[in-house]
């Protein structure tokens, strides 16, 4: 499913956090959002998910404006993995993943074997199938992150928004998560901090001060000039001799000119 933003913006107490963002993300694309801390990546994701109150501009799913859809219909199309979503309830891993079925259930269509199968599949996709009865409070940060992703998968969305999903994960789970995301048959919008991981996206958008500074294929977007101007780092490009893949090696630029 296509997702598009038209002049999207968000202002809180007169201060503009995000402004004038227009994007067209194709069906099935893996679209990366990068930018320094506080550049508006998380807010842009919240706007695309339709959960930021009083937004400016429009979000479109294919030819349908988000604001005309009931929340339930939005949640059937789009799943959102927030950066930090915690609970004090004594929920188990299974309980949490089953929350993902919420938009598909009603008092007259309760949770059934079909839903249980979807949840089991989602748990297996993130490698948590042996921990279904574990309590949320006993999970590590990385395990919680994987359960949230399983919950989002259980929503069976056609668009997934992920806010820095590799945070808290060890290197094995970072790589397996990114591989899982790239194989999903859905549109993915993912905020990332690791610019080398961002190289794996189909396209990248660079945020700076709440605006879109650049958008395009990673090799065009991640230029040395832009890395210096926006991220305040110098970079050298290294090439892996086994497969020719490019990697950045960063060093700090002098902060004070």
């Amino acid at each position: 499913m296509k997702i598009a933003a038209r002049n999207l913006g968000w202002t809180v107490r007169g201060r503009r956090i995000v402004g004038e963002v227009s994007l067209d993300i194709a069906a099935g694309e893996t679209f990366g959002l990068i930018g320094p801390n506080g550049s508006g990546k998380s807010t842009l994701l919240r706007l695309l998910a339709g959960i930021a109150p009083r937004p400016v501009g429009e979000v479109w799913f294919d030819d349908m404006p988000l604001r005309r859809l009931p929340r339930r219909e939005v949640a059937r199309r789009l799943a959102f993995v927030e950066q930090q979503a915690e609970t004090a309830e004594a929920l188990s891993v299974r309980d949490t993943v089953e929350l993902g079925r919420t938009p598909w259930l009603s008092p007259l269509a309760p949770f059934g074997p079909h839903d249980a199968a979807i949840c089991a599949e989602a748990l297996a996709a993130v490698g948590m199938e042996d921990m279904t009865e574990r309590a949320w409070t006993t999970l590590s940060g990385g395990e919680r992150q994987r359960v949230h992703i399983a919950r989002a998968l259980a929503q069976r969305p056609r668009i997934m928004l992920l806010d820095e999903p590799t945070n808290h994960l060890d290197i094995h789970h970072q790589l397996s998560l990114l591989r899982l995301i790239s194989t999903l048959p859905v549109t993915v919008v993912i905020a990332l901090h690791d610019l080398n991981q961002a190289m794996g996206c189909d396209r990248l958008a660079v945020m700076e001060g709440g605006r879109l500074a650049a958008c395009g294929p990673p090799s065009e977007v991640l230029t040395h000039e832009r890395l210096a101007a926006i991220f305040r780092v110098g970079a050298r490009t290294l090439t892996d001799p086994t497969d020719g893949a490019r990697q950045f090696r960063f060093h700090c630029l002098e902060d004070h000119p």
Binding site: E73, E82, D95, P103
Partner: protein, 346 residues
């Protein structure tokens, strides 16, 4: 038609549990009718109930018949409705506010309801149980609105809500005292203060026809929204992302909580600790998922308040202890237990 949409096996399982719950509730109600300061044998109680329910025509002493049918049965039914209603109010508030300490008493809803009820009683606005309940509803809604606004102004977190609730409770309790001091004579004042502590002595059949439908409607409203309440586990944004119309659900459920609290407070006064402790007891038994939590909390709340009423009648011979005193004597240690368990977990 509804049954056809359900997966096979679910309906019998849910049906069996519902039947077991109703059986337990009826036994508790029967227990509440049998026990009291005047000991009545089972067969007398049974005969009196049969006479009134289907004109069985058993010979029963008219005084016993009166005690059972006009006094104990309505009292026990109202106790059950109040216990269930207050427990459900606690379940909903704890889920929506995301704070284990949320309950109608701590969030000032009960205090607001008391103020409204007292204002109507003293100033003679409206008349009868409906008038007082209406006043209590307005007071409760005002209190919740004020507490929510204050919590939002203070930053809007779960802790702010409880702190704002404490401020709101103090304010509305002060208003209640002010109304009593200003307008009530000594006789009225004594009666009101006794009622404020929680008291089922004056309960008769008309009170049942108000309390029972409100409790049942509140129960059904909560049960209908069980998945929405589950979805609030990770906060309102997460609930919204899961397809919950957050604002609509909040309005419906807060409305149900306000209605239940106001009705119960207007009938039996302000009873603390039921809404706070019972949901935790239910969570301990069946876990945090609302599909099980809601019926369990309602059932335990009903049984708890029936038992508290029996104790309040029998604790001191010849005298009725306010039921609020009994629930606090049991509830305060229960509350302490929750605090200690919370510390261990955190």
């Amino acid at each position: 038609m509804i049954g056809a949409a359900l997966p096979a096996g679910l309906l019998p399982r849910v049906g069996f549990r519902a039947l077991a719950g109703v059986a337990v509730l009826l036994s508790a109600i029967l227990g509440g009718v049998v026990l009291g300061e005047t000991p009545l044998p089972w067969d007398t109680v049974w005969a009196a109930l049969a006479n009134n329910l289907w004109n069985a025509g058993h010979p029963v002493d008219p005084i016993d018949q009166g005690i059972i049918w006009s006094y104990r049965v309505p009292r026990t039914l109202v106790a059950a409705a109040c216990g269930a209603g207050l427990a459900l109010a606690g379940v909903v508030l704890q889920a929506l506010v995301r704070n284990a300490l949320a309950d109608p008493y701590l969030l000032g809803v009960s205090a607001g309801a008391s103020t409204g009820a007292v204002a109507v009683t003293i100033m003679g606005l409206g008349a009868g149980a409906i008038g007082i309940s209406g006043g209590a509803f307005v007071g409760a809604a005002l209190a919740f609105g004020l507490v929510s606004l204050l919590a939002r102004a203070a930053g809007g977190g779960p802790a702010q809500m409880v702190l704002a609730g404490i401020a709101g409770s103090q304010l509305f309790n002060a208003l209640t005292s002010f109304f009593i001091a200003k307008s009530a004579n000594a006789e009225q004042a004594r009666g009101i203060i006794f009622w404020l502590l929680g008291n089922l002595s004056g309960v008769r059949w008309p009170d049942v026809t108000l309390a029972a439908p409100v409790a049942i409607a509140g129960f059904l409203a909560c049960l209908w929204h069980m998945r929405a309440l589950d979805a609030f586990s990770f906060g309102a944004d997460a609930a919204s992302a899961l397809g919950i119309a957050v604002r609509r659900v909040q309005i419906v459920l807060i409305g149900a909580v306000t209605l239940m609290t106001a009705t119960m407070v207007s009938l039996v006064g302000s009873i603390g600790f039921v809404g706070l402790v019972i949901p935790h007891a239910a969570r301990f038994l069946v876990g945090p998922r609302h599909g099980r939590l809601i019926p369990t909390a309602a059932l335990i709340g009903a049984i708890f308040l029936i038992a508290a009423d029996v104790v309040s009648r029998m604790l001191i011979p010849g005298q009725v202890v306010p039921i609020g005193v009994v629930t606090a004597l049991v509830g305060a240690p229960g509350f302490a237990l929750i605090l200690i368990r919370g510390k261990v977990r955190g």
